[in-house]
């Protein structure tokens, strides 16, 4: 390779670098502008929890929709007895009624510890909707609701569950954040799939060849 060509290569590199920097700048400007434009977009039909932003005020929201070939009433009845949820929800150890309409949810946390939250039912419409909210002084501030509606074409019931929680501060907060932060979306998805399996087939699929010891 001649000296002359070497020099030309070097200037070509410099030119491409300049083009690259310029391009990156233009892209950044375009992105900023489109982000600004996005704030003024009319709302679409998608559920809020699928928005590109993940927070709503102080609350983190997660939710999942699934279709189950059972009637609204059957699924409602199963869910309304919160104790049943421990069968399908991986991290729920137990749900115990404390009386006075309050339930205590005991949640298994990493490292074998447990946390609990006490909730009260806010709204209860048989076959349609159940919503609950944590009572004052509860370790975790949370609210949730589950809605049941008829699916089209004899597919059963569309079950939509939404849980909002305020990630708390302090040590307990860190623990809880870890608990919920363990991909809450994945957790919700897996829990509802187990619910579907149990409601549709009467059992929860496992490839284990023997019963757990």
């Amino acid at each position: 390779m001649t000296r002359h060509r070497h020099g030309r290569d070097r200037s070509a590199v410099a030119l491409w670098a300049a083009v690259g920097v310029l391009g990156a700048g233009v892209a950044a400007l375009a992105y900023a502008r489109s982000a600004r434009d996005d704030r003024h977009r009319p709302a679409d039909s998608a559920p809020g929890r699928t928005a590109r932003r993940g927070r709503f005020g102080d609350y983190a929201v997660t939710g999942k929709t699934i279709t189950i070939h059972r009637t609204r009433q059957e699924i409602y009845d199963f869910w309304r007895d919160f104790a049943n949820l421990a069968r399908v929800m991986d991290n729920i150890v137990s749900v115990t009624p404390l009386g006075d309409g309050v339930d205590r949810w005991t949640i298994g946390a990493p490292g074998g510890t447990q946390v609990s939250t006490d909730t009260r039912i806010v709204e209860d419409r048989p076959g349609e909707l159940i919503s609950w909210r944590s009572v004052e002084g509860s370790e975790i501030e949370t609210e949730g609701k589950v809605m049941f509606r008829d699916a089209p074409a004899d597919r059963g019931t569309v079950v939509e569950a939404i849980v909002a929680y305020k990630p708390p501060a302090g040590n307990v907060g860190r623990l809880i954040a870890k608990l919920f932060g363990k991909e809450p979306k994945v957790q919700a998805r897996q829990d509802l799939k187990r619910l579907k399996m149990l409601m549709e087939t009467g059992e929860i699929a496992t490839s284990a060849n023997r019963k757990a010891a």
Binding site: G156, K193, A205, T206, R210
Partner: protein
């Protein structure tokens, strides 16, 4: 019990493992009498399908006697059954619509994550396959736990030998569905790439469905001979330019339907195959699709492309232009086995379909590893291996 376990690439061993037991109410335990090695087991043997763990029990073509039935099973102790390789709950949307291999509920929840990410939806469970498909212990064993045993297994009447009905578990319905997916009209010419077990059953099925002519493409003389024995015209790609031959043999029109019974480990010495195979060695999830490319280029305009061959990842240089510009229809999928077993059992009983012609080797389960290496390394002689347990 004794069972064939996967240990790593080209390493399978018969070992002693714990017996299975009833875990869920609809389970049954089957004592295996006959089981076979499938071409798709070779994808596991070659480690081109991910998600196997050392010690996993392979095998998804098996039959045997019911030795125990859970309270939710409809099977009775002592019944002889063939078990479909797909596991289906019978209750979800897909099972209710006879799309049994798309079952929502058979793949354990945690194991659904991988394919839900990869494909947008989780796949259903299969016996003795990748953990992506549930990781259920398979049928190359003395005993198998069969979940949802009230849905899949078909009871076999006394008087029918294992070897007549064993292939109802996979390759016969798979070949049948391949022909069904080719939407054959009476008089059609159908071309089939790959004369392995699925291709051979697709040839038989295509004739039953009214094909006037079937062109079978392969390079193993014995397999081509089996295809010829079923009435197919054969093309040996080692000695013949396939595309040109197929056009000439169809009056310059091209086949009305083509069937890719080869799948992701397509070989043969074509430049695109060499490139695909190099990529397959370097990257996970690259499928070799030489046969499929050729089939798509060969099929007539407005024709049908049926793909029973197994694929798992991504295909490079897929001829999308030909698909669109020629107006092709593509149908594929894991076999919806229980949709076909009853009808096919009848056709076997009436002597319309022959399964025995395929079997080249019968070995005791203890010699299963030999079966794998023979089937892999000498595909011309080893067309199909049936393994027998001590209970046969």
């Amino acid at each position: 019990m004794r069972a064939l376990t996967w240990q790593g690439k080209h390493d399978v061993r018969v070992e002693t493992v714990p017996d299975p037991e009833i875990v869920n109410p609809r389970d049954a335990i089957i004592e295996v009498t006959s089981t076979a090695i499938c071409g798709s087991d070779l994808h596991l043997y070659d480690k081109v399908i991910p998600g196997l763990l050392p010690g996993d029990i392979l095998g998804h073509e098996f039959m045997g006697r019911v030795v125990e039935a859970g309270p939710g099973s409809t099977l009775k102790k002592g019944q002889r059954v063939v078990v479909p390789f797909t596991i289906s709950c019978g209750a979800c949307f897909h099972c209710r619509n006879a799309q049994f291999s798309a079952c929502d509920n058979s793949n354990p929840v945690e194991k659904q994550e991988a394919t839900e990410t990869l494909y947008g939806h989780a796949i259903s469970a299969l016996f003795g396959y990748s953990h992506l498909a549930g990781g259920y212990p398979g049928g190359q064993a003395e005993y198998v736990r069969v979940p949802f045993s009230d849905v899949g297994p078909i009871v076999i009447p006394d008087g029918m030998d294992d070897e007549d009905v064993l292939f109802l578990s996979d390759i016969l319905p798979t070949g049948w569905m391949a022909a069904e997916n080719a939407a054959i009209a009476p008089g059609d010419i159908v071309a089939v790439w790959g004369c392995g077990p699925v291709g051979l059953f697709a040839i038989q099925s295509a004739f039953i469905m009214g094909a006037s002519e079937v062109i079978a493409i392969d390079h193993y003389p014995r397999r081509l001979e089996l295809a010829r024995g079923l009435g197919a015209k054969v093309v040996d790609f080692r000695q013949t330019r396939v595309l040109e031959a197929v056009m000439e043999m169809t009056g310059g029109i091209g086949p009305d339907a083509v069937i890719d019974a080869v799948g992701m480990e397509s070989h043969g010495f074509a430049p695109d195959t060499v490139l695909d195979n190099i990529k397959q060695q370097l990257l996970p999830g690259v499928d070799s699709i030489h046969a499929l490319r050729e089939a798509i280029i060969a099929v007539r305009k407005g024709g049908r492309v049926s793909i029973p061959g197994a694929y798992g990842g991504f295909a490079d240089r897929f001829p999308m232009g030909a698909v669109m510009e020629k107006g092709l229809q593509i149908r594929t999928g894991q076999t919806h086995v229980p949709r076909y077993t009853r009808e096919l059992l009848e056709r076997i009983g009436e002597g319309e379909i022959d399964c025995r012609f395929l079997i080249s080797h019968r070995l005791p389960l203890e010699r299963a590893a030999e079966g794998y290496s023979g089937f892999k390394n000498h595909p011309d002689d080893w067309t199909k291996v049936v393994l027998k347990t001590g209970r046969s």
